[in-house]
């Protein structure tokens, strides 16, 4: 009962406090950004600059399959700017690609340097099956892409295309749904909103109480230190649940699996709040603790980069606890997501959370009133 009294009191106090409104504001910002600025489906249109140095008949052969995908089936003449002068170039535009055909090699190189298109090539030859490709790259392309450029033309391009089209692709889980662009942003944002804010805010709550000497008064009662700490954790878990559900409802309606979300959310919020407590136990005020908390928050944000850029996923990133939270949120909100993964992650967060809380409690019993 004392835990309940402490929890309701802390909840009431936090609702009158500054940090509670930071969490609410964060949720409002996330909802606004997702609904107003991020479209449901972001079209990724790439630009390519090509110069075709080949007889007209071969060029026609080369262009023909590209033109078949053009939006209106016709080549357009557009102007590109180079050295403050406009030059006419041909454009073939499909749904996901704009191919500019440039007539001069020097201009191709200069425009590639200036505009940094996703691909730039000088293609020459008298026979469509024996063309020579000279790629101009920017220098930051991945080694994988550079290797691909080197091997892609070893075989006849049509042979590769035929091989690719004859390849049988079987989906292991045909029911696995896809998230749209807006929904895809949710796992990383939910992780940031809930758990990582919790890490910072619980430390702020503790330092505020310590500064006001309230903890000393609490320590001279027949209540235990762990009840005080747990009441703070419960407040964070409650606020995190409320803001997470608000964001999910606004963005996804009732599409997400809310049972799985809460099964993941509560243990993870418990773990991150306990971690915040443990870190706070080493410092006497928020200013001192800020460096450590900031470092942790930055480190914990790195899995979000791996989430948005799947090609960058070093092994060490899997040791960061937010990695599994982001993946877990994704599985929770996607139709037919991997519930086994969510349950396993929840169990691990709960287990590690209990250990972290016990460690924090042990530290606070020695230092809370100092």
């Amino acid at each position: 009962m004392k835990l309940w009294y402490s929890f309701t009191k802390e909840l009431k106090l936090s609702s009158k406090g500054f940090y509670f409104y930071i969490e609410i504001l964060m949720a409002v910002i996330i909802i606004t950004v997702l609904l107003v600025f991020i479209p449901e489906n972001i079209k990724n249109i790439s630009d390519e600059y090509l110069m075709l140095d080949m007889p007209a008949a071969v060029e026609e052969q080369f262009i023909s399959p590209l033109l078949s995908q053009d939006l209106d089936g016709e080549i357009e003449i557009v102007a590109l700017e180079l050295d403050k002068e406009m030059m006419d170039v041909r454009l073939i535009e499909s749904e996901d690609q704009r191919i500019y055909l440039i007539d001069n090699r020097d201009n191709l190189i200069a425009l590639s340097k200036k505009d940094r298109p996703s691909a730039s090539a000088y293609i020459s030859g008298d026979d469509i099956s024996k063309l020579t490709y000279e790629y101009y790259i920017q220098g930051y392309e991945s080694e994988r892409l550079q290797n691909l450029y080197m091997i892609i033309h070893i075989e006849d391009i049509m042979t590769i295309a035929n091989l690719a089209s004859n390849q049988k692709v079987v989906a292991l889980d045909a029911d696995y749904d896809h998230l749209n662009s807006r929904e895809s942003a949710l796992p990383a944002l939910l992780t940031f909103n809930g758990s990582m804010m919790g890490l910072f805010i619980i430390a702020a709550y503790i330092f505020l109480d310590r500064q006001q000497g309230i903890i000393k008064a609490y320590a001279i009662t027949a209540s235990r230190v762990w009840q005080y700490l747990m009441s703070q954790v419960l407040v964070l878990m409650t606020v995190t649940t409320l803001t997470t559900f608000a964001i999910l409802l606004a963005v996804m309606g009732f599409k997400a699996n809310y049972l799985m979300v809460i099964l993941l959310l509560l243990p993870s919020a418990f773990f991150f709040s306990s971690l915040g407590l443990w870190v706070a136990s080493f410092f006497t005020n928020l200013t001192q603790a800020f460096g450590a908390i900031y470092f942790l928050m930055m480190a914990f944000m790195l899995p979000a980069i791996a989430y948005f850029i799947p090609s960058w996923e070093p092994l060490w990133i899997k040791f960061l606890p937010t990695y599994y939270l982001i993946q877990g949120f994704k599985e929770s909100i996607i139709d037919n997501g991997d519930m086994g993964f969510v349950l396993l992650a929840s169990g691990i967060y709960l287990g590690v959370g209990i250990i972290t809380f016990l460690l924090a409690n042990s530290r606070f019993e020695k230092t809370l009133t100092a």
Partner: protein, 284 residues
């Protein structure tokens, strides 16, 4: 009620002791004053007695509980009023008391009764954050009584209060003590100690220099003096004369017989003077 034997505490465990080998005993129903200047070790001792600091060395029993292995039940029996007010500023005075009474397993006092007692009866629904310093101090004081403590720790209970409220607080302490409550009073205010305490301990540099009743200390260390102001040959003269020493006694008789006395009163040594005499240190 309190037994302390060989208590030592070092904050950094580096051999520098905030209190060193302190021993004393507080009897049930007694008002015990723990007096000393800032940094003398008063708060350290009190924090150990109340479980706010871990006991490092020595044996300490509080209200029958071994402080080395504090049991939660101990806190049902003790109350503490802090020098620095520490109440929830965003809660009303009544809400503050209501919350704290739920944290004890014993019968508690009604918040309104306590607020009336400390003169905040009509301020119960005002947020503590809007209180003046003195009002917050009274609320902190009231909160320390909520669980009907049998052992009451008071840290500078009248600091920052105006004289009439300070007098009320002293009356409350006296009344509670009459009911059998043991009081452990930490202060550097010798006047309140003199007025309230059955016994006092003088602590300096973590070491208890003297323990006795104020009366005995005055008998032992105080001089019995008469201060007299008189006019002789048109000149006003002030003198302090001993009522024990023969020469002074004779001089006083002469002054009374031959001079025009303006004022004359006996002067008893104050606890502060005894503290300085007994410890060789001032109170600041």
């Amino acid at each position: 009620m309190i037994k302390v034997n060989g208590l030592s505490h070092s904050y950094n465990k580096d051999g520098k002791y905030a209190v060193k080998d302190v021993s004393f005993e507080v009897k049930e129903g007694e008002v015990f004053g723990f007096l000393g200047p800032s940094g003398a070790g008063k708060s350290t001792t009190q924090n150990i007695l109340t479980g706010l600091l871990k006991l490092q060395e020595g044996e300490v029993t509080v209200a029958g509980y071994d402080v080395k292995h504090i049991k939660n039940e101990m806190f049902n029996r003790i109350g503490m009023s802090f020098e620095q007010s520490n109440v929830y500023s965003k809660m009303t005075a009544k809400e503050n008391l209501d919350f704290y009474r739920k944290l004890f397993d014993v019968e508690t006092k009604e918040p309104q009764f306590l607020l009336d007692l400390v003169g905040l009866g009509d301020k119960g629904n005002i947020k503590a954050g809007e209180f003046s310093k003195g009002m917050k101090h009274r609320l902190t004081f009231a909160r320390s009584m909520i669980n009907n403590p049998t052992l009451w720790f008071l840290d500078e209970p009248t600091t920052g209060l105006d004289p009439s409220i300070a007098a009320d607080i002293k009356d409350i302490i006296k009344a509670e003590n009459k009911k059998g409550v043991t009081v452990f009073l930490t202060t550097h205010n010798m006047y309140i100690a003199d007025e309230l305490c059955d016994r006092v301990a003088f602590i300096v540099d973590g070491d208890i220099k003297l323990i006795d009743s104020p009366k005995n200390l005055k008998m032992q260390y105080g001089d019995k003096l008469v201060e007299v102001e008189y006019i002789k040959d048109g000149e006003t003269i002030n003198e302090s004369l001993s009522t024990i020493e023969e020469n002074d006694k004779k001089k006083l008789q002469d002054i009374i017989g031959q001079s025009d006395i303006q004022t004359m009163h006996t002067k008893e040594a104050t606890l502060e003077e005894i503290f300085i005499k007994g410890t060789g240190r001032g109170l600041i």
